[in-house]
Subunit: 456 residues, 2 copies
């Protein structure tokens, strides 16, 4: 219900924009832009042609909301839009944006463009931005906001409240971070605790001394894990001397979690890891998908070679060929199920360390149950369908499918567990490994069983 | 780096618990429990045997932190643990828990057990809980917390601040919600705005009148979408008369996003949608995975029938059988890539309404590029490998793989888009539909092409 309402609102907004664009009603467009939430603007932006996008962007004010709008866009849209824009205007927008959006905007630009924008800013602004840009992509440093609220531990609580009220930036204030005289992070106080503390209390007396913190180089996925597990609203980011550099807030973590899930999906399907693949050209899209298909092509070549080697078996019992698809398909599917369950279990922390053997045993039991069932069904079908074929055909086919499903669950479970041990991302490698190896093993097994049973 | 540190801490904590458990050091265990964050406790709980779990749980205090711990457990662990526990003790814990955790705890219990616990509570507590339990699973109502902060619009700002400071519940206060005399939600004020407003201002003068709100029946996925899009910390939940019922906070949304991603993964692999499948028995696990495998089995039967019908073709050119696996594999893989990209694009909102034809066209171009490339490669391989086979074998094989990859991209793109149109979850239906239909079409195409080219 809600979803349709939302879609309806967005459609309405988009149509209003389009009507105004057709009429070149610049004043009305400006007004509508002011009234629209930056997040909504970024959604309807997807529906505009390049030309419409430029027209709307040209009318946007030079303030924080435009920075917010830009940072909500998909990276590819953002790059295209800004590469066409004058550096002066971008510099003015960057200057007004919050530190988080500044990073997103500049990271989407080419090196030269970024440099030309930095040169338009004041020395201190430049230095601050250069620092933000120096952190590795997808790290806590590149994700953090430098608009945090920190005070020395010998501050009194009523002074802290006063300082907080005078603060005009730091929109997302949840915690007050406490530092020592060397600016090292030593504690944290929730704003609630601060509000109910007697005025003359020293912050060091009410602060929590054990603070979960991350380093600027920490991977954003690990930051997300901490925020999700402890229900934090923000995590402080420190340098190697424990000096507070910034905070990663929960709203950015929400985006990280969604992006990482998308990347895992694409990786498992062997479609690269570019979450914006939809916005890329067919050519780039094809390039991202080529490697896994090559792995699968090689697997196919091996399978063809295996079958070629058993040509004499096929020649004498041609009906065997009919069951190649179902043996491969069932093995591949149940193997993919196993590996998906394990890969996702690793990502959500449900696969614990030390329980590997239990997991493998459990999956093999599943393989035995389902392999037995479908082997039986297929064996019966084979007997009924190919009455002219040798009497053992049903047995061969049933046994092969059962065994290949059993092996597929074992392989599908073990490969991701093994990859994790080697510190390789299970998601990226599971897809090609599992399906390709299961295909080859399945076909080989089939012909080995056929050869021995049919006495050829 | 961070991840290992985290794992190391958890391992240390687990070993300490184990050591104390072996020594039956109850006092030390109690102290350790008090000192451990509920979220950490829930993680190490996974490593305990059933007996150890019961021992640790028995030592937990009857307070809010135990409620928090319970609600962080996986549902299956939670159910097992509580079904063994006395209703009295659960009732005492539920009484102390926040409304959000109360719902989670009671929802994990059997109807009888829930009833026996409700009967132990006061009349007003009972009614409140029954209301929470009445909302559909995975709805905003079942996810919301009733500990929110709301005031009438004719309140003055300094009274609002005073009320806030006296509030001892409502830990997650981010916004002050404003209601009219009929308790209908009419506005919202951020705590920052409140803090910097002159003391005698009426709340109605500073409130934002346009509030994003959801209904209690709204699906949690839609709530998550709103929170993620607008970077909210909480969304108000209202009934049909716009009366404020509760709030859904961002920390719960983080959990929803992770759970929904896991469910989508499992659905696409045809492994049910039970995100706790790892904790289930092999039997339940097999049951969840059976349906898709049946679809795929049926597809295999159809493929076998198709091949059976072309037995005479195979008989004359036995080498054709060798390429059945690669034709199916490549078609299936590229089709899965296409459908994964589209399904995930729909989930993250990157597939816009009205752009369907552009998407299909783009994917078909990818199919043409990759199908052309791999068709050529396979054609050459077939010619070189099977020199004795008819001269057209390479052409037949190459053309078939190219065409089946082309068709697979089209099918992989269109099926999820079509399912969305019909309001069926694309994730649940894409896996079986795409792979099965691509398999059958691929095999059929192959033999049709072979028949016409090899002039049989």
């Amino acid at each position: 219900m809600r979803k349709e309402m939302f879609e309806h609102e967005i459609t309405l907004l988009r149509d209003t924009f389009r009507r105004l664009l057709r009429r070149h009603a610049r004043t009305n467009l400006s007004k509508l832009i002011q009234k629209t939430h930056p997040a909504d603007l970024s959604v309807i932006f997807r529906y505009f042609s390049d030309e419409e996008q430029e027209q709307v962007f040209a009318l946007m004010p030079l303030d924080e909301s435009t920075g917010e709008f830009l940072s909500e866009l998909d990276e590819s849209t953002l790059s295209e839009l800004l590469e066409e824009e004058e550096s002066d205007r971008i510099a003015l927008i960057v200057r007004e944006s919050n530190s988080n959006d500044q990073g997103t905007i500049l990271n989407a630009l080419s090196e030269e463009k970024t440099q030309s924008i930095l040169e338009l800013l004041r020395q201190d602004e430049q230095e601050e931005l250069e620092e933000i840009l120096a952190y590795p992509e997808d790290s806590a440093g590149s994700l953090m906001s430098t608009d945090f609220f920190a005070l020395r531990q010998n501050t009194k609580s009523h002074d802290a409240i006063k300082t907080l009220q005078d603060q005009d930036e730091a929109e997302m204030v949840f915690y007050l971070y406490i530092t020592d005289d060397d600016e090292r992070l030593v504690g944290v106080i929730s704003l609630r605790t601060l509000a109910i503390t007697p005025p003359n209390t020293l912050l060091s007396d009410i602060m929590m001394k054990s603070v979960h913190m991350v380093r600027a180089e920490t991977d954003q996925e690990d930051v997300a894990q901490i925020v999700a597990q402890y229900n934090y609203l923000a995590v402080p980011v420190v340098d190697s001397d424990m000096r507070l550099l910034g905070i990663v807030t929960v709203d950015d973590v929400v985006d990280v979690i969604r992006e990482e899930a998308t990347e895992d999906f694409l990786k498992m399907a062997g479609a690269g890891k570019d979450r914006e693949i939809l916005h890329k050209s067919s050519w780039e899209n094809a390039k991202a998908r080529l490697p896994w298909l090559f792995a699968s092509w090689l697997g196919g070549i091996v399978a063809a070679t295996v079958i070629g080697a058993y040509e004499h078996v096929l020649q004498s019992t041609i009906a065997l060929a009919a069951f190649i698809p179902v043996i491969m398909g069932m093995g591949g599917n149940i193997g993919t199920q196993s590996s998906t369950i394990i890969v996702r279990g690793i990502a959500t922390g449900r696969v614990d360390f030390g329980s590997e053997f239990k997991l493998i045993f459990k999956e093999i039991t599943v393989g035995l149950l389902l392999g037995g069932l479908y082997g039986l069904l297929l064996g019966i079908f084979a007997e009924l369908k190919f009455i002219d074929a040798p009497p053992f055909l049903g047995l061969v086919v049933g046994l092969s499918i059962g065994l290949s499903m059993l092996i597929a669950t074992a392989v599908g479970t073990m490969i991701p567990l093994f990859l994790r041990k080697l510190d390789i991302d299970p998601a990226i490698a599971t897809g090609p490994f599992v399906t390709t190896s299961v295909d080859i093993v399945g076909v080989l097994l089939y012909f080995v069983i056929a050869t021995s049973f049919l006495n050829l």
